[in-house]
Amino acid sequence: MNMLKQAFDLWKSEKQHKGTTLQGRLILFFASTTIFLILAFVLLLLLFGINGKGEKSVRAYMINELSHVSTAIGDNFGRLSLLGINLSSSISDSCDSYFADNNAKPGELAQHPELLEPLIAAQMPYLKSAMDSNTCSGVFLLLDATVKPDAENSETARAGFYLRTTQPLSTQTVGAKYYCLRGPAQVARDNGIELLGQWKMEYDITENFFALVMDTARENETLPLSRLYYWTGRVTLHGNSEASFLLCVPLRSSDGTVFGVCGIEVSDRMFKQQYSPQESDYKDVFTVAAPASNNMLQSSHGLVAGNSFLTGQRMTQDLSCIGQKNGFYRFCGDATAYGGLIETVKLYPTGSPYVGTELSVAVLMPEELLNAAIKGNSTYLFLIIMVLLVASLTASVVISHRYLHPVKKALHSIQNKEYDNNGDIPYLEINDLFDFLAEKDNEHEEEMRLLDEQRRGALSDAEQSKQQAERLANKRHEEIDRDSYALFLEKLKTLTPKEREVFNLYLDGKSAKDIVVLLDFSKNALKYHNKNIYSKLGVTSRKELLMYAALMKQDAERMVKE
């Protein structure tokens, strides 16, 4: 860490010392401008709400679909409830008449199995009339009695009639037929109704919803039929191949005896045809209508519409609500998570014993697709901004390089004093600078030439002076007695260091004034040293001393040359 800090400090000090490169500064300028513009662009998008458009769109779609589907389910199920209540009233009245004609009591129906088939046959007009409404896939009648009370399965066998159509909601097909799923075969044949492959004569009430409806009606004798109908969750009748919701309305005679159930079927296929979400850009959206409790959407007891990749048969798992994300509810099954919106549809009026077991309607889609739809444009926007950013930075580098290349080339030329660019440099200012520098260079060269000439003259003068000095020294050399000179050299050794220092300065050609300054003497001190030097060396004057000194210097130079 310390090393890094030191390196950074070094770089910083170096930078402060040397400054930044031209290209670096230019890139920094461009990049700053670009980033500023992009940030301003993003800010504008945020301000005008363009970002997050995906979330708004998918939310609007979901809200619209949920509103549409839940309203349709509420309305249609309400109408079917009314149809069921009317059917129950009609059949109950008809049965009352039948009981009266045959001196039978409704409560004793189970003891008179011989009455069942004619009783059922008498109700066929009401069942067929309900089917003719083209609003359901089936109608049924179940009597709390069996034709074989002594049979082993009499506990779960119940007589009745179950009428189905293979083309619910069809108002166009003239060839539409009704089929018999349960009921006496002869009654079916007498009414021109074919038996389905899964036909059985009687119901097998392993499902307990029929008993639930009858028991509840018996416990609430005072309640009208309009408070006693019940919508089952998704059920598949024993031996049947298609699941459905069943509206069950108790059959109650005028004496208050509950002797059976009649009702309406909304099949899986019919539900799909009616309540699939609209085609849209969003994939795999589907509707679930199911009971819900304790944060659990009981989709295994519900019907599914839409999303052709998801069928009612496959939706066998309940969905647990695990919270909210982006304002959408999250549901988790065993393997897949879904997201969407949910709403409760009121099925029962106030006073119904079934209030509280309402139907929840949800419009969902796989969570990964929902998340993708929410991100939608944001992801593209982010990608576009990133691409813009990278492109701008690259452009900054390229443009800076291209702009500065001639400048750097020019600087290099200046360093090499090459001012002739042959038109390579496209900048006028630099070309003017080159002309200016070339002119200055010429002037400088002229000055240099003159100075050189002066130097040469000075050197020539110096050489002449030197030759003259040498000639003079040689002459002096010849003039000085060799023995006196030898003695002089011998006596030099007697000088004190300070005196020797003074002597050496004389030898270097320094004046008395220079020596006083250099050695920080007073003039008197120099005089004192001079006197001692003269005395010890046996000279009488400074002139004589300088003569010996010149001689010594001459010898030294000669020795160096040799």
């Binding site: 199995p113 083309q167 166009q172 037929k177 004569m201 085609e279 990749f309 048969q313």
Partner: protein, 451 residues
């Protein structure tokens, strides 16, 4: 310059022609799938199988290619035919035409004459079609030679026998199962059975039970004529009943029907079988799932029974010939994308793997050579439903010993078929009523009435 323009135009023409031929170049959008509506007649116990296959397609190939099959109607063949006929005739109140529908060539003819069907040759290569049994492809080709009915699953007609009821009858009367190989034998047994059951309640006269019925009396007459070397149609394609061969057929059926041994019923024979009101019946081999393992009498008594599958009966002296049944898939003429998407689906649905899945759960016969000739025998051991195994075994055996007859694809075939069926049933019902009322009845007079 002129040459350059000509060259350019030629190139344009060539590109146009090539693009017109290359239907496989149709580009579908995975994100915006083409919805293909479908009607089919595989309801009841077969619905789950078809639903599962369609779901599988939608979630695999359909999802990848952008195709969504949306089943908008599941109904019986008769109901679908009614609706389709309305569409073909342009009747008021007719429903919208589905993109794919199941049906017989007789329905296809009505649409093809009005140029309302897609020629599936445009969406299939010769190599692809060579994988299918040649006769099945040939059946789907109509007058202009185009392929308009793509084979999905085939069936033939067989004789369903309630072995439990028959054994009880044979035990008492000595009736032989061999008699079930001919219509004459069946007529004799029917008379015997009626008397035998009538005798069980001596206090109630004429309450004997019916022995035999057919899902299609026209087929009995049509195939019977071929078995006996004739044809129910004359050279001009009109119904031809004025001959000795048909007279023999009529006489055979008439006596048994009037005397109560044959059931003349508007619905399927299986309805009567479910309540023990019939011992045997001829019908499509694909109807096996409508026969359960028990019968329920009117008083609620349930009896476990076993059914046997026997070859289609012949008229005495006739050849072993049975009807080749089973419709196919038709594609409505539409935009290129929808037609192409429909063709992708039908080729997927009839590929060997899917075809074997379908037949093993419905009782139909496969349509590809590989499935029919190579995979069927081994596959029989893996079929879970014993009824289907029994039926397929019997039918495969029939294919070895019988010649199969295919009904003609004429435009008025359907009308003739329906007309005969209605007239025959009405006549027999009236004759039966007259017989019960003690009136004098006569086969020749009745036949003249039918003609």
């Amino acid at each position: 310059m002129k040459r350059a323009i000509l060259l350019f135009l030629s190139l344009l023409l060539l590109v146009g022609m090539l693009s017109g031929c290359a239907s496989s170049d149709v580009k579908l959008n995975q994100k915006n799938p083409v919805t293909v509506t479908m009607w089919h007649n595989y309801g009841g116990d077969m619905q789950d199988t078809m639903d599962t296959l369609i779901d599988e397609f939608n979630s695999t190939v359909g999802k990848e290619q952008g195709i969504k099959i949306d089943v908008t109607a599941i109904s019986s063949s008769a109901e679908l035919n009614e609706s389709l006929t309305m569409i073909a005739n342009g009747d008021l109140g007719a429903p919208d035409m589905p993109d794919i529908f199941t049906g017989y060539p007789k329905i296809a003819v009505q649409f093809q004459e009005k140029d309302m069907l897609a020629n599936l040759d445009n969406y299939s290569t010769a190599d692809e079609l060579s994988a299918y049994i040649d006769e099945f492809i040939a059946e789907g080709r109509l007058s202009d030679g185009g392929l308009y009915v793509f084979p999905l699953a085939k069936s033939t007609e067989i004789l369903y026998l309630n072995q439990t009821l028959f054994d009880a009858f044979a035990g008492d009367t000595g009736a032989s199962k061999d008699q079930l190989s001919t219509f004459e034998g069946i007529a004799q047994l029917a008379k015997q059975y009626y008397e035998w059951t009538d005798a069980k309640t001596p206090d109630t006269p004429n309450d004997g039970k019916q022995f035999f019925s057919s899902d299609a009396w026209f087929n009995v007459a049509q195939v019977g004529m071929v078995q006996l070397g004739g044809s129910i149609f004359d050279d001009a394609g009109a119904l031809s009943l004025d001959n000795d061969t048909y007279t023999h057929i009529f006489d055979t059926l008439y006596a048994a029907a009037v005397e109560g041994g044959f059931a003349i019923y508007d619905g399927y024979s299986s309805d009567l079988s479910k309540t023990g009101d019939l011992v045997c019946s001829t019908g499509s081999s694909a109807g096996i799932l409508f026969y359960g393992d028990s019968i329920t009498y009117a008083d609620g008594t349930v009896e476990a029974v076993e059914y046997s599958i026997l070859p289609y009966p012949t008229f005495e002296g006739g050849q072993k010939i049975a009807l080749q049944r089973g419709g196919g898939l038709m594609v409505a003429k539409s935009d290129e994308k929808t037609e192409y998407a429909a063709s992708v689906f039908i080729k997927w649905l009839t590929a060997t793997e899917q075809n074997m899945t379908f037949i093993s759960q419905t009782g139909y016969l496969p349509v590809t050579k590989q499935a029919f000739e190579k995979e069927m025998p081994a596959h029989l051991e893996t079929v879970e439903d014993a009824r289907i195994t029994k039926m397929l075994t019997a039918v495969l055996s029939m294919y070895d010993t019988y010649d199969l007859f295919t009904a003609p694809n004429t435009s008025d075939f359907d009308a003739v078929n329906k007309g005969y069926e209605k007239s025959f049933k009405t006549l027999m019902t009236e004759q039966r009523s007259a017989y019960l009322a003690g009136e004098t009845i006569d086969a020749q007079r009745a036949l003249a009435q039918l003609k």
